[in-house]
């Protein structure tokens, strides 16, 4: 697949099939660099599936679920994708969405700041002869600059990514950094193009019930709870005390996410409730404006809990644990 149609410049270097556009390479992977390097050698030597199945590393075995699981991407059936679409999987990880969407669209571009993850995607794509797939290493999204031309994608996937935007650069307001990133995504979408987001809800019911912050667990084995719910300045106080870091992995409330997307130039927002979790390998997905969402959340609120006050004011939908969102760039 030619990258000329969507890359701003074509003077980039390539390494193992990955176009390297990043001037600030970063490493973000569930495997430490040395384990990833060994694993990539195995993938090159054997098939990618054999490399995973024959590995003794439990992290690699666990990764399989996030790698070859097209049902994780079934939510994208809510988008208007066609066989003519060009789609960008931004923050593609090991390519769970990339490979799920590849047979359905004309072109799929996996972009990530981590070269090693993209090398895995590239090796798998070569092995499976996925001619419509390309891989591009980009700067961390905190920089708010993407190497793609204006109006070049029909859809952008941002699954489990937005909340990390702001955590790479340790300075600046994460909210403004996310806003800038979303505006940049808006720029590269075609008019009427769609953005698909999967993200935790800041005020998810399970957080009120004491679940640990999903994003802080990557920094510490300690369970740190309630950080998403309290004002962010207090969350920062907690994280400084617990892990000597400011709080920068911002998730959003339902109206907060709506405001952020509108501020970034998106319209026609549709929210969905993944009943188990947006990261699950197969989840029921209910449109947020369906009455079924209220029933589902009400059933999960423990009896005699103060949280029962939410349904009294018709606010139970604000307690979904996570959301999928589709949003459209102005036509």
């Amino acid at each position: 697949m030619s990258t000329e149609d969507f890359l701003i410049s074509n003077n980039w270097e390539t390494e193992d099939g990955v176009v390297k556009t990043s001037s600030h390479p970063s490493y973000w992977n569930l495997l430490p660099p040395d384990e990833m390097e060994t694993f990539l050698k195995e993938v090159k030597a054997k098939s990618w599936k054999t490399a995973i199945n024959s590995s003794n590393n439990p992290k690699i075995k666990n990764q399989y679920l996030f790698t070859d699981c097209p049902s994780r991407a079934d939510g994208t059936l809510y988008l208007s994708l066609t066989k003519e679409s060009r789609v960008l999987d931004l923050g593609s990880g090991w390519g769970s969405y990339t490979f799920a969407l590849s047979p359905k669209v004309k072109e799929i571009v996996a972009a990530d700041s981590s070269l090693e993850s993209l090398k895995f995607i590239s090796l798998r794509a070569k092995e499976e002869d996925r001619k419509n797939l390309s891989t591009v290493q980009i700067d961390p999204l905190d920089y708010g600059k993407l190497p793609f031309k204006d109006n070049s994608f029909d859809a952008v996937i941002l699954n489990g990514v937005l909340e990390w935007v702001g955590s790479y650069l340790k300075a600046g307001d994460p909210l403004k950094i996310q806003n800038k990133c979303l505006k940049e995504i808006n720029r590269i979408l075609k008019p009427g193009g769609e953005l698909w987001i999967g993200i935790e809800n800041r005020f998810g019911l399970r957080y009120f019930l004491g679940a640990g912050d999903d994003h802080l667990k990557y920094y510490t084995e300690k369970k740190i709870a309630y950080t998403t719910i309290v004002p962010r300045i207090i969350a920062s106080f907690i994280t400084q005390k617990e892990i000597k870091m400011p709080y920068r992995t911002y998730t959003h409330s339902l109206p907060g996410l709506e405001r952020l997307l509108k501020r970034s130039g998106f319209e026609e927002l549709n929210f969905y409730y993944p009943e188990s979790d947006y990261r699950a390998d197969s989840t029921k997905i209910i449109p947020l404006n369906s009455k079924e969402v209220s029933r589902s959340i009400k059933n999960r609120i423990p009896k005699n809990s103060w949280l029962g006050i939410f349904p009294l004011f018709g606010l139970e939908k604000a307690l979904c644990d996570s959301y999928f969102v589709s949003a459209r760039k102005r036509r």
């Binding site: 070859d68 699981c69 097209p70 049902s71 079934d74 939510g75 059936l77 809510y78 988008l79 208007s80 994708l81 066609t82 066989k83 047979p103 359905k104 009943e275 188990s276 390998d281 197969s282 989840t283 029921k284 997905i285 209910i286 449109p287 404006n289 369906s290 009455k291 079924e292």
Partner: protein, 377 residues
Amino acid sequence: MIPFIQKYLLENWGKFEIGPKPDKLLFTKFADRRIRAKEVAVVSFQVNAIFGHDEKPVLILRIPRYPENQGAKLSLEREYKNLSDIQNKLHREEIPRPILFETINASKGLAMTFLSGSPINSLMLSQNIMKAFTDNSALAFSWLIDFQTKFGKGRESSIEEIVSNETAFYLKAFPQNALIHSSFFEKIIARSKEFRLRAIPLLPQHEDFHAENIFIRENKVSAVIDWEDFEPEGLPAFDVIHFIKTYLEALFNYFSQNSDTVSIEKLSTNKEMLDLIKSPIQQYLNALGIEAGLMEILIPLYLIHSINLAANPRKNAVGALSNLELLLRLKPTTIDELLLFMSAFSYGIIYGKAMSASNQKLAAFCKDKIESIQNNR
């Protein structure tokens, strides 16, 4: 995909004869049951119609995960044809009416009427699990008897012919297993020859008649869904054995999740319990005029036919396949044996959990149970 389908449905609403045109449609995607291979999967949605502030479920929509996948397309085609044939013949309220089978935005889409009720699997774990089983199986089997009787019997076939066809189909698909099963297959074939002079009618079988596909409302079956595998001339008693096997499998899974070895043992060996389980089967066999003695052939045939179905490239149900194959290798010929062997899987699950939790005592207990079941074989 959904925006294209929504537009199509609203533009053509009048053709479907399912009531007034709604203002809007909401599509809820069901969780994938992960029975089929992911490539051939069909994704299902419940479609709710919005009229002002009212919301009402109206349709079930099924689309292939991968529009170009032949297996998924064939599944939808079969379901559409089966639903059309059954409805043309019987006009049953408890069976979905196909509404459309069209290519929209280069993908096939099958829509059918939504039928309300609670799936039987949601009613399994009441306070008295065995009473729930008796009630649920009575409702399901009385519906099945009525459906099979009204749909009508198929051609008559000798027992020997049924056995030969099914085993031959299996051996063609799995020639590598010929040696493993040769003595068991020979035994079933020899037994079938004892019924040489008798022919039995083939009966319509749903072929996936399990608790998740049967819905109950106001103490009667309100819906039976998922007709993709329907066979108008199917293996006698297949649906009944499938219902019992999958229902008890769900109970075994529940017990093994809770490491409840007492309930597993009770369900698989207690005579009173076994009589309770076999009673609705006997009533069904009596109603359809099927000789009880045939069950020793029909049970292994059920497993062989299920394996043949799961192995079909249209489904490629790898998980189900390995479980069924293991059961077949244990050579059950009675419901008692089938249950006992299923319990071995549950002990196996608890054994795994006990080992991870370093609970040596529980692990040893489960290991003994599994070995004793294997040795008694």
